[in-house]
Symmetry: C2
Subunit: 272 residues, 2 copies
């Protein structure tokens, strides 16, 4: 299916002066599409709006929402990627006040992950690449993703479905393309993302579900020791839902009951 640029079918970016290309000056969302519906759309639009607010990108969010709905309808099934850039500018970091944010919609097939990732759990690679601490960008799904590119290039062995990333101070933060949760004595733990990391839409949805189910949640700094002591460990994102983690370095975990319960919920959130 053709991509759309600013609402029009296009095979090429309208402009080489786009600040998304020049500086990674923009944001993106990766949205599961099921039966023509963009799943978790409200949360994706919320995160995008927060990103626009923090980066001072003046986008028309109702227009974006309607384009995403129409594009998803045309797609049917798959993964919809929305890239929103600050638009064009002349040379130099300074953005023109007249810059019009650019909307790019792209379709990919449904992600073809092995079924056993979800059923039996995954093995986590131990990434040497650390996340830098930059509070101004922490939590955002922005287009400056070289850390993830470098981290993902560390392993080719398909034994590892994902890689664990720590920050430069050694805190356990997230996967390369997932958020990480721990279950400790019935409590759900996930990393505080004030310094680095991406505040994933599925993470956000699961935190809301936990509140609804009265499962205690602790959003905090997580050490390797705490990871080691966890009863259950799982990854999540808004495309695959939940993958239990069964191994990382010399650590191993069974797939636990809370992981299974939340995995079922995540599945319903991603399917019409």
């Amino acid at each position: 299916m053709h991509s759309w640029v600013d609402g029009q079918p296009a095979s090429a970016l309208a402009s080489l002066k786009d600040r998304g290309l020049a500086y990674g000056d923009g944001l993106f969302e990766t949205i599961a599409v099921s039966a023509g519906q963009p799943m978790l759309l409200d949360l994706h639009m919320q995160r995008l709006a927060q990103g626009c607010s923090r980066l001072a990108i003046a986008a028309d969010h109702s227009l974006i929402r309607s384009e995403v709905l129409a594009y998803a309808q045309a797609m049917g099934e798959g993964v919809l990627k929305l890239i929103l850039t600050r638009g064009d500018s002349l040379r130099g970091y300074s953005a023109s006040p007249e810059a019009q944010p650019r909307r790019i919609l792209q379709a990919s097939p449904v992600a073809a992950y092995p079924e056993h990732y979800a059923s039996q759990g995954v093995q986590l690679f131990n990434c040497a690449t650390r996340l830098a601490e930059q509070p101004l960008l922490a939590g955002l799904k922005h287009l400056n993703r070289l850390e993830q590119v470098i981290a993902r290039s560390e392993w080719q062995d398909p034994t590892y479905a994902e890689g664990l990333m720590r920050d430069t101070s050694g805190r356990v933060i997230e996967g390369v393309f997932s958020n990480l949760f721990l279950v400790c004595d019935g409590m759900l733990m996930t990393a505080d993302l004030q310094r680095c990391g991406v505040a994933g839409v599925m993470r956000c949805a699961l935190l809301a579900q936990a509140e609804h189910l009265a499962i205690p949640v602790h959003i905090t700094d997580i050490s390797l020791d705490q990871l080691q002591q966890a009863d259950e460990v799982f990854l999540c994102n808004s495309v695959y839902g939940i993958w239990p983690v069964r191994a990382f370095t010399d650590l191993s975990w069974s797939v636990g009951p809370l992981t299974r319960k939340l995995q079922g919920i995540a599945r319903t959130l991603l399917d019409v």
Copy 2:
């Protein structure tokens, strides 16, 4: 003048799947062109090659060099921007081994800075945006430049020609689009760029000139106290050469003799 994409005149990026747009997965060089010649080309090509090596981008450097030479010849005068991306890929951070790096050449007019920036010196804005410490990316002129975009958005007042950026630990690093030098007791000082910052081509050229002139150089961590005690302060880049710094917060400096001497040298490096 039309931009070139992979050696061909183009008004649009060949592909929306370019990883430069998706992740800022690439590098750039901003090259002064005088009388059809790309100035300081060897240093630009050296830095690009180092960046490619560190990011594992397998580019054809002799092809890039010959394209830059031909494009500069066609431009005559101005600023040539070279963007080199890792090329296209499917969704996901993992790069395809078959990805062909993409070369984008763009022309801009000669930068129209007020003449008094060079003659009388500039006033520096005190940026609140701090540079994150990421040794894996430090020194590179990569496409992940949101920190610079945010920093540059902090001031609109044209009284300030540039802004001073510190790292998250408070060290004095560089300008938003310049490197910074101090002169202290006849010694040249500039920031160590092992944790963050861009290793500018003019910085590199000036360090070589200093060695040639037997001016002692200290590449080190720089504190605000050291900046305050400096006898002379100047900025440099490979487009404008050298701007003396005359004021920053409540500090002020005169334009000193070593700054003037190096400014003359920088001018010859940027003009045929």
